[in-house]
Symmetry: C2
Subunit: 204 residues, 2 copies
């Protein structure tokens, strides 16, 4: 395989997903760090040469660049057991990955970013006004996960898949955004299950 | 293939994506309608039997149910030319589909929903406060698409893929949300290209 380089900020769960996928698969990954808070992903050089969308993570494969965390995980995991060979399970895995980006990340990851990284005192008025709605939507997301995991060990098809990795990334640090994982017993058991996988690496 | 039923609201671009994918592939699709505005996707019956997340679309395949529009499109298109056989192109297609759900839909589709369906006079104070940021983010999304399409006919790999279908759905009705497509010449040409595909069906 060509050299794999991850353009990342180590505090980002979206970046961690890709490192965790690579670790579980035993793939070596070079890392190039950017400080989101210092605007390092919005420079003309970054926009022209790494990602015109001004965001990390970007997975670089040789000279090609792939933005979007879940797409990068997919690229690394193609042909591995982290993507089921069953068409229904594969689509259902993507269902949870799209759900993660639409219903989970914008609430759970954003509250962590705002409260633990930006700092509540530094939020804009508009950000502050959005806190209650994002809190409620984040709780709904955790409750949906908890209900789903009540009768299952993994999100899809009885085996570890990218759906688990994508959802682990920001769920396991959700308390930094003020969520209480003790309210979600099935989620906590599943987090322990992910952390016990052979090859697992922690976020930091 | 088992009977395919789409649980939908005909005004939703996310639902239209699935109908358009099925049409391009010549797959028959039964339709079951819900009125989002009347709360028909939040009833106890819907939450228990269709989608615990309270959202449409849901693609029903026999007795199994698949939420998330882009996952449903993937399920229908597996093995077809709408998903490239090349691993890079497949991941790059997913990249645009994840980008659509994270950067495009929450801005461009939400403004259309708020302004053309809910009505500006019925918005909450918090929704109204978010209009400028969503307007700017939606313009950024259209500009990124326009730049990408300046040198390409299709989003990925020189052929029509699910990335085009996913992005077509809300882009072609973005003027209902107050965006001006005349500012994006490459996007307009691409919209015409999609609408000329054999088997294409319009949204209504």
């Amino acid at each position: 395989m060509e050299t794999l380089t991850l353009h990342e900020d180590a505090r980002s769960g979206n970046c961690y997903k890709i490192r965790l996928t690579a670790a579980l698969l035993g793939l070596p990954l070079e890392r190039k760090s950017y400080d989101i808070m210092a605007g390092e992903t919005r420079t003309p050089d970054f926009l022209a040469n790494v990602n015109g969308n001004g965001r990390i993570p970007v997975l670089q494969v040789g000279n090609r660049r792939l933005p979007e965390s879940n797409a990068a995980c997919w690229y690394l995991a193609e042909g591995s057991a982290l993507i089921s060979a069953d068409p229904w399970d594969r689509a259902d895995m993507l269902r949870w990955m799209f759900w993660e980006q639409y219903n989970h990340e914008p609430n759970i990851a954003t509250l962590r970013f705002w409260l633990a990284i930006v700092g509540e005192g530094n939020l804009t008025e508009l950000q502050r006004a959005q806190l209650p709605a994002k809190r409620a939507a984040g709780e709904d997301a955790l409750a949906l996960m908890d209900a789903h995991l009540a009768a299952r060990e993994w999100f899809v098809g009885g085996q570890t898949s990218l759906a688990d990795i994508a959802l682990y990334a920001y769920t396991h640090v959700s308390e930094e955004g003020g969520f209480r994982l003790r309210d979600y017993a099935h989620v906590r058991t599943w987090l322990d299950r992910v952390a016990a996988l052979p090859g697992f690496i922690p976020m930091d």
